[in-house]
Symmetry: C2
């Protein structure tokens, strides 16, 4: 039988493109530094928390010279958090730069995420290992994990491990939280004069780690293309069979970038965007009404099919749901120890709960389908809180819409048929083979991370800009992590965090959806993106997301 697939075999030999400034090799890179930087907000707090790494200048590389350090340097690399396509290429870029600079340099991969550096679990990466993972999806080369690096004890242990391996720099590949922690580590290493630098790389399929300096987080391109492939296929099925409404939930809890990008790629009939729901203070009732009306209007014209995209985090964007869930969390903490409640049957439990919730929350709770009520009370995390991620939002909407359509039918407002299919896509895209864009972008990010290291910088995020242009025009450099930070309340205390990028309702990306939404609802403007291609015409293989194009080109033309 096969050892690897035919496509894997070919992709192992793909040579990713490097950003222009890096293309002549790590020994022909020249550093230039800009002005001192600040923070996105709460400058004084951030400055006080990060006295050693705050306010550094933006770094930019050119291929004109050769002024980076060539001293021998061992580096440790960590994959942190959820998988995103291209992680292996960040490591490959880092590895190739490091070995090109000095073949005595060693790259250690810490195993199973950030815990690896604390526990001293690592492996040395070699050609033999690296060459099995080039341009592949997944984080399986060294594994990933969700341990947060934030305590003095962890930092001390990490330092011991680094000393034992003669490691002079650590590269952390992660999302906003992991990079916040990378900055804490950088600060600690600097404050303690360890000589160990820390560089971050922007990873997340959610697309919410971006700002003026970081155009896109890696993995977003491949993941959204993979989801768009599936949704295009389902649209074609719906449009052929003409008998189902497909409700498709897409991974991404704290922002709806994935949903928005996929909507622009596929043009479905309904797209919900969490940030819009929150900004317009939409109620569940309003969302159900909006969707039922689109379905009814289509159904009344004989179109008993369609596609609705739903962001995974929807529930948490609905203001009244947030209030109700907070109320439930408070309430359940008491009721867990209440004998009367515990001995009650389901119906009685609901009565007790609604008698104790505020009136609006009680009304909302009562309006929910039985299965969802049960889920809210049963699936609780170790702290006793409702597990919002376990709520099957797509099925909640389907049940409520079906009920609404029944009422509309009774009122003579609807004469169609409603049959549904529910889908949830997430795991299908997080470990897809990176697109050419992600393969190139990630390789450049990793290569560039080593350039930052050899520039002696710490507390920086590897940055590759101008990414809607060909790789030769990409701009390589680094951004101080503190520049992207502000203070936010987390678990009751104010913490420095990298500001998450939410969908901007006045930005060109959301506007592209808004402008077309009505047309897409009633007409069938479905686009069928098909599978991610690696070898074909550049128009098919090398174009990145519509989101990025709109953000960079500030125009709808040519998208």
């Amino acid at each position: 039988m096969r050892e690897i697939s035919p496509l894997q075999k070919e992709r192992l030999n793909y040579q990713p493109k490097l950003a222009g400034a890096l293309a002549n090799g790590i020994n022909s890179v020249k550093l230039s530094l800009g002005e001192a930087t600040s923070a996105v907000a709460d400058m004084e707090d951030i400055k006080n928390l990060f006295p050693n790494v705050f306010g550094k200048p933006i770094a930019k590389f050119a291929s004109a010279g050769a002024d980076l350090s060539t001293e021998k340097k061992n580096v440790g690399v960590i994959l942190s958090g959820g998988q995103a396509p291209g992680g292996h290429n960040v490591i490959a870029g880092l590895y190739d730069a490091l070995k090109t600079a000095n073949k005595e340099n060693k790259l250690y991969g810490f195993l199973g995420g950030p815990s690896g550096i604390v526990d001293g679990e690592y492996m040395e990466l070699t050609d033999e290992i690296m060459n099995k993972y080039r341009n592949t999806g997944g984080f399986d080369i060294i594994g990933s994990g969700r341990t947060k690096l934030e305590t003095e004890d962890q930092f001390k242990k990490a330092l011991e491990v680094c000393k034992s391996l003669n490691i002079g720099a650590i590269v952390i590949i992660g999302g906003d939280d992991s990079n916040t922690n990378a900055c804490l580590l950088a600060e600690w290493m600097a404050a303690n004069n360890t000589g160990i630098n820390v560089i971050g790389c922007p990873k997340t399929i959610d697309g919410d780690l971006k700002n003026d300096q970081i155009e896109i987080s890696f993995g977003f391109d491949t993941a959204t293309k993979t989801y768009a492939e599936l949704i295009g296929n389902i649209q074609r099925d719906a449009n052929s069979a003409k008998k189902y409404w497909h409700f498709i939930k897409l991974m991404g809890r704290s922002a709806s970038h994935v949903c928005l990008e996929v909507a622009l790629q596929t043009q479905p009939n309904i797209t919900l965007i969490g940030e819009e729901v929150e900004a317009k203070k939409q109620s569940l009732e309003e969302i159900v009404s909006y969707m039922a009306n689109v379905i009814a209007e289509r159904g009344n014209r004989g179109k008993n099919f369609g596609i609705a995209l739903i962001p995974e985090g929807l529930i948490e964007f609905i203001p009244e749901m947030k209030v109700m869930i907070a109320g439930l969390n408070d309430l359940m903490a008491h009721l867990e120890n209440d004998a009367t409640y515990q001995e009650s049957d389901q119906i009685e439990k609901y009565e007790i709960i609604t008698s104790k919730l505020d009136a609006a929350s009680a009304k909302l709770f009562n309006s929910l389908p039985a299965a969802i009520k049960a889920q809210l009370l049963m699936d609780r995390d170790p702290h006793g809180n409702v597990q919002v991620s376990k709520i099957e939002t797509e099925k909640l909407l389907i049940e409520m819409i079906a009920q609404r359509l029944k009422e509309m039918k009774a009122q003579g407002l609807y004469n169609g048929k409603f049959a549904d299919q529910a889908h949830f896509f997430g795991y299908e895209g997080r470990c897809a083979m990176p697109s050419n864009f992600d393969a190139d972008y990630c390789y450049s990010l990793g290569y560039n991370a080593f350039a930052l290291i050899q520039s002696g910088l710490t507390g920086y995020l590897s940055s590759i800009k101008n990414t809607t242009k060909p790789a030769s025009e990409w701009v390589a450099g680094g951004v101080p992590l503190t520049m992207m930070m502000n203070m936010e309340r987390r678990h009751g205390a104010m913490k420095p965090v990298i500001k998450k990028a939410l969908v901007e309702l006045d930005g060109p990306v959301f506007r592209a959806l808004e402008t077309n939404r009505e047309k897409w609802a009633q007409n069938d403007c479905y686009i069928f993106p098909g599978a991610v291609q690696y070898f074909g015409p550049s128009s098919v293989c090398d174009v990145t997301t519509i989101t990025l194009q709109l953000e960079q080109e500030k125009s709808l033309v040519n998208v």
Copy 2:
């Protein structure tokens, strides 16, 4: 915004390859006929039922001559049943052959499936329309439907419609049932001297329409590759995060070819095959034990993750489930009108039911999780029967396995963690853009269908053989539909039907799974096929399924 995707744009210009004998054009095709044929079984019955189309010789084409009729001929085409990638290319091949033969020829597409020819709903296909659908997925060019053509009344109406359009031949693109009906229509048209010929084309992603004459049904290649892409991605995710068991149900109720092919492409830890379950008379209990043991053994070695593939039709292959469902169907017919039952609560209902089922079925019913019991009683079709397709088999297994693992833990037999994710893939692949194989194969099937028409043949299935070789070596011809038939009981009466191909447990394909199953269970031999490719190296873009390679080459070498 986009009108079509970049990949669609490129694929519209792809020129599909034709089988060797057809490659010089429809006007350079020479027919040769073989020996008279019989039926797979029940020869006398089949002969009596199809006196006009039975026993015809196998047809084979060569490109050596030009002896097909060139008389003007209008043709009608019908898409029947569920979508399969490549349907549009069958129509494109038919269209191109027909227009090349005589540009006055017309191709009519009957709309919404077989009902179109009965109700006279049709459209004439033109260059402008056809060119928008070349090499695309879906059946949306004319739509599909599930109406069965089988009554005298339908045939008469169809004849009237054909006469009004001067249609001399009908091409039906469908699965085993649709082609059985195509044969009934061919017989009727011949018996009534209408001069209208009927030709079938073998379609189904399920892969169960194949035999000595038909190597593969179209769509199986693309659909399985699409599912394999997703499963490979999920495997990579599982192997990176190392915390979930993914239970993946795959479309395909009456045979497990899809599951088997996808398993060979991806090498998951567990693969269930319905035909094996039936042959070995496995109980639900045994299946749960097998799976729980694999999970426990991995868990005990620290591997709390894995992938299990489950065929959609599993339930119907488990002998005791079949008996229990038949029992429930009988029982519920009575209980629907039983006041005591109707007024009982859920628990009482279960008691009534188990008191009336046979002991084995009652025991099985009691062993099922609550949600599944409720599903069995609630979701009933218009005839009052249990809707087996609505049973969430993957969740049934997950619940029962979780319970079993809990017991094993209590007994000290298991010390791992079990966290699950459930998936169901079907709609994601049925309308994918056809792979190069399906694009070429379908185009050849359609082109060839016209060659059969111009040869004056009726009651034939379009046949393209030698499909593991390059298209230039493909062999074009036709097979009498009656040759593939036998008599089977349907709804209480014996009917002539095309024999469905089930997974052969002593065949090379199943054996490839069997040989490797234990190794794949405990080791991580995951293969990551990646997305379907259209433009790259031939090893990636043009290779068809492992099933077909094993069946044709009768060897495991080079797969």
